[in-house]
């Protein structure tokens, strides 16, 4: 546990920093100088050969309209060293996987020949480093997966299935993490593990390298992690429907329970045509209709035979209804007694169970009983319904002839698009050059399948749910369930396989509310990136996914707001924070794009075509005067009425802006807080700034951080902000507890999230500040408290009451008591920065 929040905090007191980095699957730490600190788990060596300060600036900047951070790349060099040479030498021992290796397998790895390898040691497969404790002639055993990185699933027939005693010399795709550790003027590095004393300041993946440079070093170029989200995911797979033979997919254990009742006697048989030992691919047995009928009859006959010769249940016969299907009948065995009786049929398919009863007339053994075993369960009284195995007993199976695609590349579950209609499937297996899909829902009928023969089919991967869930699933999914986190649920290549440790999952829930909180949709990203599929929605809703410090010295993908308004700033940037040099001005201005006068939104989720694909909204009056300026976007909503409602709100927000969002770039020391998405307060007098609120030079007020970069050599940071164009709403917080009495509290507890707000108020108003108290529904502005100090107890924000205005009485029952800011006439300068009636600014 360090006593500083960030290594940069120590720089302002005369310390410096040392950079070091990790490359995924390479168990050596690369440092600028020997640190001698405890190495992270999985790493066995330290090499002081890193050259990183020649890189261009690092960091991320948000493009508000694209909804995604544009992280800057990192280039670094490694000098020749014994450690590096060992990694960049052709392997002396090499073999291949002989079976696919799951990401979670730790028992053994099957290979063609392990005899040349040491009996225990380290091997490399793909980008993964694996330790093993034993070998057989064709396997490695006792595996420790994902050493110095992550575990992956490996296919035996891929180039990545090569197993060697050294890593591949092509490091593309490996994750790079750059850290800064503090070091004082004497060269002292704080004690503790290397990661504990450092902050992660950049994260991305190797795009090229290592390659030899003219100055005899090895260079690697890496892309920021948020740029990975701009790379397209797997394309959809095309083919044609092959319905020359109709197949049904039956889940193992599906059964038909038939009960015959007469008088007080009951006979019952349980027919299971395919038991669990006959399970085929993905838990399904795939058969033709005739095979299914034969299997049912075989199982039926065995059951009836077991009842004995006196059984009243008899043979099963099938009757074909041309063009519709088949229907099962039973010939009774022994003569059924003449009294009125009944029989019942129960069909069980997984969790589905349906029973219906049919009265049974008096019959002789020569009469076929009119049992319709497989009628649609929705119409049990319609006895003439055809035998419909695909709606009741079995599930749909569709064969798709692929066009130039290896059937093994078809994900084991996903979507099937046929003639504009979307189906889902839950199993797949290769069938020559075709793929057979199982568990197709809604199950097409036999007649539908026949009609679909030769039709174009598209196999497509998609995610459904709220914006927060779809984002997290696409970011984390690896194709191996839950490998990268709880949101790793999508098939292979349908997500970016980024581990949850690199994702601020909570931010996606907390920031996704407001105007996009109720949105739910389907999204397919075939051959498209997350930026392509969701960037438009995020941009319109003024949200963005960006790589940023999560406040603990860890770079994480976070969902942040980009709107130029809000409250709860994290810092104040004043003139004294600006860095001036001979070459550069500490402040630069980007005048920003014109305020749009129209918004054009295309509806496309990659799955189905919206009936009216484009929604157009314009501010007619302003468009006539200021000219056309159109903001365009694509969003995944396909419900036109829903999309129209949202687009109207978003467009109104854009149209109402009084002027373009001009960006200010402020050159500051690295310890000044403000990550992309944060709010900061500005108190600047720089002549290039202008404050529309006061009509004076400089700017005082809140601003949204849209970017932050760092020069690794000079440590200078540039924070890019857009000034608020309207005050944020006043905070209001419920009282959770108090000390003293309800009428005379000495301290008041509120949610800890408000600590930053109240502590900054106290900081700016040393003499104390006032809050007013009211009960929603009985709103009054007359009562309040003067607060002297604000304390973070670790669980709540505690306000110490200095004096009481009026005669308030606190309560937590009903709507409870709420604290908010006083009316303008009583407020402090800090509080006046929030929205009050008569403030004069715009609602934003």
């Amino acid at each position: 546990m360090t006593s500083y929040r960030h290594p940069w905090d120590l720089v302002q007191y005369g310390c410096s920093v040392v950079y070091w980095l990790k490359v995924e699957g390479i168990p050596t730490i690369w440092t600028e100088r020997a640190l001698g600190a405890t190495l992270p788990t999985g790493f066995s060596a330290e090499s002081a050969t890193l050259i990183v300060d020649q890189s261009s600036e690092i960091g991320s900047t948000i493009d508000p309209d694209a909804g995604l951070g544009t992280g800057l790349p990192l280039s670094f060099q490694l000098q020749d060293s014994t450690e590096l040479s060992a990694y960049l030498t052709n392997p002396s021992r090499v073999t291949r996987l002989s079976a696919d290796l799951l990401a979670t397998t730790t028992s053994s790895m099957s290979v063609a020949d392990a005899s040349s390898f040491a009996s225990a040691g380290t091997l490399y497969v793909g980008n993964e480093c694996v330790n093993y404790t034993g070998t057989t002639s064709t396997s490695f055993t006792g595996l420790s997966r994902g050493v110095a990185g992550l575990a992956y699933a490996h296919a035996k027939d891929s180039a990545a299935g090569l197993v060697a005693n050294v890593p591949s010399t092509d490091w593309r795709g490996r994750t790079v993490r750059l850290y800064a550790a503090p070091v004082d003027a004497t060269g002292y590095v704080p004690s503790g593990t290397l990661e504990a004393i450092s902050s992660e300041i950049w994260c991305g993946t190797v795009r090229e390298g290592p390659y030899r440079t003219a100055d005899a070093t090895w260079q690697l170029d890496a892309l920021s992690l948020d740029r990975k989200l701009a790379e397209p995911l797997a394309a959809s797979i095309s083919g044609t429907i092959d319905s020359k033979t109709i197949y049904y997919s039956v889940q193992a254990g599906e059964k038909i329970v038939c009960t015959l009742k007469y008088g007080s006697t009951t006979e019952q048989i349980v027919v299971i045509p395919y038991d669990s030992t006959a399970t085929g691919p993905s838990g399904f047995t795939v058969v033709t209709g005739s095979e299914l009928r034969a299997a049912i009859k075989t199982a039926w006959d065995a059951e009836v035979s077991a009842l004995g010769a006196s059984a009243h249940m008899g043979n099963l016969i099938w009757t074909q209804y041309v063009g519709k299907g088949w229907r099962g009948h039973m010939l009774p065995g022994a003569t059924v007694p003449g009294s009125p009786t009944q029989h019942s049929v129960t069909i069980e398919t997984g969790a589905y169970k349906y029973t219906y009863d049919v009265s049974l007339p008096s019959v002789s053994s020569s009469t076929a009983l009119p049992w319709a075993f497989f009628d649609s369960p929705l119409h049990p009284n319609q006895n003439l319904a055809p035998y419909a195995t695909d709606t009741a007993f079995s599930q749909g199976s569709v064969t798709v002839a692929l066009e130039g695609v290896d059937p093994a590349d078809v994900p084991s579950s996903g979507g099937l698009k046929l003639k504009g209609k979307l189906y889902s499937y839950s199993g797949a297996s290769a069938l020559g050059s075709s793929v057979r899909l199982y568990g197709v829902q809604p199950a097409p009928t036999e007649a539908e399948l026949v009609a679909l023969d030769g039709e174009d089919a598209v196999l497509i991967q998609f995610s459904s749910g709220s914006l927060a869930d779809v984002l997290r699933r696409v970011i984390e999914s690896s194709g191996s369930a839950a490998l990268r986190g709880t949101y790793d649920t999508l098939p292979n290549e349908a997500g970016y396989s980024i581990p949850d440790g690199d994702v601020d999952e909570a931010s996606f829930s907390s920031v996704v509310g407001g105007s996009v909180g109720g949105i739910s949709f389907d999204l397919a990203l075939s051959d498209r990136s997350l930026e392509d599929g969701l960037g438009g929605l995020l941009g319109l809703a003024e949200r963005a996914v960006v790589l940023r410090d999560d406040g603990t010295g860890k770079q994480k993908l976070s969902l942040v707001r980009t709107s130029p308004s809000g409250t709860s700033s994290v810092a104040t940037i004043a003139d004294a924070d600006l860095l001036v040099s001979e070459q550069t001005d500490p402040v630069s201005i980007d005048r920003g794009s014109p305020v749009p006068t129209s918004v054009e939104v295309e509806l496309s989720n990659g799955l189905v075509e919206a009936p009216d694909k484009v929604i157009f909204r314009k501010d007619k009056g302003r468009r006539q005067q200021a000219g056309a300026s159109t903001l365009t976007a694509t969003i995944p909503l396909t419900d036109v009425s829903q999309a129209t409602s949202y687009v109207g709100l978003w467009a109104a927000g854009r149209f109402s802006r009084p002027r373009p969002l001009s960006k200010m770039s402020l050159r500051v020391p690295p310890w000044v807080l403000g990550e992309p998405g944060d709010l900061v307060d500005l108190d600047l007098r720089h002549p290039s700034l202008y404050d529309f609120a006061t009509g004076t030079t400089g700017f005082t007020g809140a601003a949204r951080v849209l970017g932050r970069t760092l020069d690794l050599g000079s440590y200078q940071s540039v924070i890019t902000v857009v000034p608020a164009q309207g005050a944020g709403l006043c905070p209001a917080v419920a009282v959770s507890a108090w000390a003293g009495t309800a009428a005379a509290p000495t301290t008041i507890d509120v949610d800890r999230d408000y600590y930053d707000h109240f502590s900054r108020t106290a900081e700016l108003e040393a003499g104390g500040f006032k809050v007013i108290v009211y009960v929603p529904g009985q709103d009054s502005s007359s009562d309040g408290y003067w607060i002297s100090t604000v304390t973070d107890t670790g669980s709540v924000c505690r306000l110490t009451v200095a004096s009481i205005d009026g005669t308030p009485t606190l309560s937590t029952s009903g709507a409870g008591s709420w604290l908010t800011l006083p009316v303008t006439s009583e407020s402090t300068a800090f509080q006046a920065g929030h929205a009050h009636t008569d403030s004069g600014g715009p609602w934003t």
């Binding site: 219906y356 109104a652 309207g726 709403l729 709103d779 502005s781 709507a815 407020s827 929030h834 009050h836």
Partner: protein, 334 residues
């Protein structure tokens, strides 16, 4: 401090949103809409056309399941009936069941004229814990025909305290002050209070109730629902109206039914959605004389086609299967 409830639905024009300056508007108007909603959102708690055969000459009693507001609201009841050839006096009594029966209206008598339609409107408060309602019509020995009952929420005031549903009224004491804070709670309150009212007041979207005057005559005032010697019979098929419901939603069902057989085993009622597009969901109730409640009938779309089927295992033609009352409630937005 004043809680004002507009008499007409206040509107906020688009330009008021586009060019709004930081004053109490449009937030004040938006919040006042929640007060309007409280008094004027009136989905039918009861909307039943009584299932009766012909003009009766005795008292008729109807009992059905109920899902009232959590806020113990006052409701406006409107009864409608036909009187035959003899003028007389109609007595109406309404009782609620919340662990025990209690009268919430009447019995109140009204003089009636012959060969004419009549109606009576009155208010009554239904407690949040009520699970059933019982309505008794008595026109003495004179023939009459009870037709319909409609009960809609009709609160006359907007309360200041937070209601069990979650509704919190808007009082202009704070926002009406000069320089008052425009705070997050007020903005959120507008949405939360609307959601509370909309989801608290359930709408009766499916209804059927037969006379329960005496045990011997349960449900037998009509031939509908009485059959025998058949495995199943469709009692009825109706379209429920769920405006705005794009996907699937659950309907909460309340049912009581009987059989004349000594054992109720196998005597059941199936309620399900049918039609070209349907959810595939169905609910099966035992016709054993007990009240059954199920919230698992999932329906698809704005106008689901609901079918009610009785299962009667008797083949002697003597035993009956009867649904006395079947009620379906929908929570808009659920």
């Amino acid at each position: 401090m004043t809680i004002s409830t507009p008499s007409t639905f206040p509107r906020v024009a688009q330009q008021d949103l586009l060019t709004a300056r930081l004053t109490s508007e449009p937030l004040s108007t938006i919040l006042s809409r929640t007060n309007y909603l409280w008094q004027h959102h009136q989905p039918p708690l009861v909307d039943i056309a009584w299932l009766v055969g012909a003009s009766m000459t005795r008292a008729q009693v109807f009992e059905f399941g109920l899902e009232p507001s959590a806020d113990s609201l006052s409701y406006s009841f409107t009864h409608r009936w036909w009187v035959g050839g003899t003028a007389g006096s109609m007595s109406i009594k309404v009782e609620e069941y919340a662990g025990s029966w209690s009268t919430i209206y009447g019995p109140t008598s009204t003089a009636t004229s012959a060969n004419a339609w009549h109606s009576r409107t009155h208010s009554a408060t239904i407690s949040a814990s009520a699970t059933r309602l019982r309505v008794t019509y008595d026109h003495g020995v004179d023939a009459f025909f009870p037709s319909h009952l409609l009960a809609i929420p009709a609160p006359t005031t907007t309360p200041s305290a937070k209601q069990p549903s979650g509704f919190v009224a808007f009082d202009d004491g704070l926002l009406g002050s000069s320089g008052a804070p425009l705070n997050t709670e007020m903005l959120n309150r507008a949405k939360a209070s609307c959601a509370a009212v909309l989801t608290d007041r359930k709408s009766m979207v499916l209804s059927m109730a037969q006379d329960t005057f005496s045990a011997a005559q349960k449900g037998q005032v009509t031939s509908v629902g009485i059959f025998s010697g058949s495995p199943s019979m469709t009692v009825g098929r109706a379209v429920a109206s769920l405006p705005g419901n794009k996907g699937t939603t659950d309907i909460s069902l309340h049912l009581r039914g009987y059989t004349s057989a000594s054992s109720s085993t196998g005597y059941q009622c199936v309620v399900r959605q049918v039609g070209a597009t349907h959810s595939g969901s169905s609910v099966t109730f035992d016709l054993d004389g007990s009240w059954h409640v199920s919230s698992t009938l999932t329906v698809l779309g704005e106008q689901p086609d609901i079918e009610v089927v009785l299962l009667n295992p008797d083949t002697t033609g003597t035993e009956t299967a009867v649904v006395e009352s079947l009620i379906g409630y929908w929570t808009p937005g659920s």
